[in-house]
Amino acid sequence: MKHFLFGLTIRLVLILYGEFHDKTFVVPFTDVDYKVFTDAARNVLMGASPYSRHTYRYSPLVAYVLTPNIFVHQAFGKILFSVLDLLMAHLIHRLMLKRNVSSQKAHLSALFWLYNPISVVISTRGNADTLSSLLVTATLLCLYAGKPAWAGIVHGLCIHMRLYPVVFSLPLYLSLSSGSRFSLVTASDRGKSNICDKSGSSSEGPLTKDGPSASNESSGLFVEFKRIFIPNKSQIKLVLGCSSALLLLTAAFYWLYGYHFLFESMIFHLVRKDIRHNFSVYFYLQYLSAGAVVSIWQRILMFVPQLFLLLALSVRYGRMVDLPFCLLAQTIVIVMYNPVITSQYFVWFLSLLPACIPMLDLTLKQAAFHSVVWIVAQLAWLLPAYWLEFRGEDTFVYIWLQGIAFFCANMTLLARLIEAYKPVQEVAKKPKVKSK
């Protein structure tokens, strides 16, 4: 409790500082999009569409929630996001307990989010991505609580808020599978994992328990095949929950705001192509080939590696025990292979990190090393970007090279994480703290 109060105090102080900073300095503390939300909220209050604010590319819900920005105080949204941050820490704590992690480690994971300078800065700058991170965590929590229908609904809402969690659908679906490859209880660690039995598979206990038993060999491939490819009850609930929530929200807002809503909050994110400098490895390639016809093989080359990795990770980690790590790895992949990367995208995977920390077999020293490399790679990109944007120097080539370096740093990090990942039952007993 005292941590919650302290975490909240830090955030409130920073929000106050932000008010002062924005009045004093040229480069504002507040996120660019926060202004966009506020303007959209103003439009909503005046009875107009939030999308009449150019570059508003979010769900109308964000504008609704932030209307007090206009009639209470401009910092309302930041305080709301800070409170959601605390809620996020609480959910991480509960998620860890559900996964049978010792309460000490669960506590540490929650603190990692509460005191993480990045999450503090993100929410106090007024970045709405805290909201989608919260929903992703809530989805996991529902799944572990054995409520696939709810998980589906939250997941649908989450996709509505931010498109990227749509790639989580496959691992979420697979994690409920009755096939022995995906089910919680594999032959090898059956005895150890009683936690999973009572959580995820509660709705269809008999199937899962039969799955890996001795009769498996005789029942043959056909049953296995059926278990993997024929959806079971939980899976149907998940899919129905997700699609009904998503369709309902989409239909409602389409009815209210028309094609404009559909384009800005969905289609735009699919076809987004920004030639202006950003962290993406594809930035210079896109800028130099701008205006020209993009050849089909270029499209394929941009799309295929990402697809392969997402599929491979889904199949490999699409199990209930591995779910948080699967989502983390997938998020790193979609962010790094995205044609446009802005620093807010990093929140997406940072928010999944705390839930994975107890399963990462890394020493504090290794963890610190990886964190430093990751941050240095980012700063190294920021330097030429600053010279271009604020000094008007031609540093395009350097920005591109730093983009490549940053990509490589992230891929190496992902590889180290995969190597260090040990599902909860196999981690050695001694507690290890890990960041990044």
Binding site: K23, V26, V27, P28, V32, K35, D39, R53, H54, T55, D274, I275, R276, H277, N278, F279, V281, Y282, Y284, L285, L288, S289, A290, G291, Q298, L301, M302, P305, Q306, F308, L309, A312, L313, R316, V333, M336, Y337, T342, S343, L382, A385, Y386, L388, E389, F390, R391, G392, E393, D394, T395, F396, V397, W400, I404, F407, C408, M411, A415, I418, E419
Partner: protein, 257 residues
């Protein structure tokens, strides 16, 4: 990506700039319209605009110091000037930023069309912005110091890279007073919103002025990509992204239990 919304907060020593600019070399801005000239002299007004682009990079300020030397300054005390700026396709103003500045009482500037702040230069066209300012008085001098944030658009890459030039042409100057202006020629009046982006329309008296802006306009340089690098960029980028994919897949296989 870092984005900056330029702040006009510091109206730094406009008087100093004013003094400097009086000593500034000022030459005529081409296109002398006789009727306008006659009108200005009939009204006893001599206008100059000293222009400069401040700051570096993609986010700049377009500064205009408008000075009116009046034979009878009392007559012009309750007047507003308006600049009609032509923003070339290589630049844009951010409508939302301008609205914020208006709310803060720093600047009133209204684009005459919708401005796409994300489009590149080759996808854009030039457009007009009306900038309003009240006048301050110093003896027989009336002046207004206007600073409007402008942003550079990305330009198409060229075969050699380097820099491209964007030219900001001189503006048109108009004046409107709360009392009726009697010296002007009614035919030459320009109709525009009275004091904000929307609202009722008023008649504005066009004024001839001298300016330091060269004929082709103020030049701003913007870095552009080097198209000759495209094959190298293509090859290296896909080598790295493809390599990254294979690397991760190999790690997945090697840790498979």
């Amino acid at each position: 990506m870092i984005m900056v919304t330029g702040s006009l907060a510091n109206q730094r020593c406009s008087f100093y700039v004013l003094l400097l600019s009086i000593a500034f070399f000022i030459h005529n801005s081409g296109a002398t319209k006789n009727s306008l000239n006659q009108q200005s002299s009939r009204c006893g007004l001599h206008a100059t605009i000293v222009r400069q682009v401040e700051r570096e990079g993609f986010h700049r300020d377009l500064g205009s110091l408008v000075e009116l030397v009046a034979q009878n300054p009392l007559e012009w005390q309750n007047c507003t000037v308006a600049l009609q700026e032509t923003i070339p396709s290589g630049l844009y103003v951010n409508q939302d930023q301008l609205l914020d500045l208006e709310r803060q009482g720093i600047l009133t500037a209204c684009p005459e069309t919708f401005v796409d702040v994300e489009a590149a230069q080759w996808q854009s066209e030039s457009f007009n912005v009306l900038v309003y300012s009240s006048l301050q008085t110093a003896l027989n001098l009336l002046y207004a110091h206007i600073r409007m944030p402008i942003h550079l658009r990305y330009h198409a890459p060229t075969e050699t890279g380097g820099y491209a030039g964007v030219y900001i042409p001189p503006p048109k100057l108009f004046i409107r007073c709360s009392n009726e202006i009697t010296c002007g020629n009614k035919d030459s009046y320009f109709s525009a919103p009275c004091d904000g982006c929307t609202g009722s329309s008023c008649s504005w008296l066009p004024l001839q002025f001298n300016t330091n802006t060269p004929q082709q306009g103020l030049r701003v340089m913007v870095p552009v990509g080097n198209k000759s690098l495209l094959p190298v960029v293509n090859a290296v980028t896909f080598l790295v992204t493809g390599g990254g994919c294979l690397y991760i897949l190999s790690i997945l296989v090697s840790t498979w239990k």
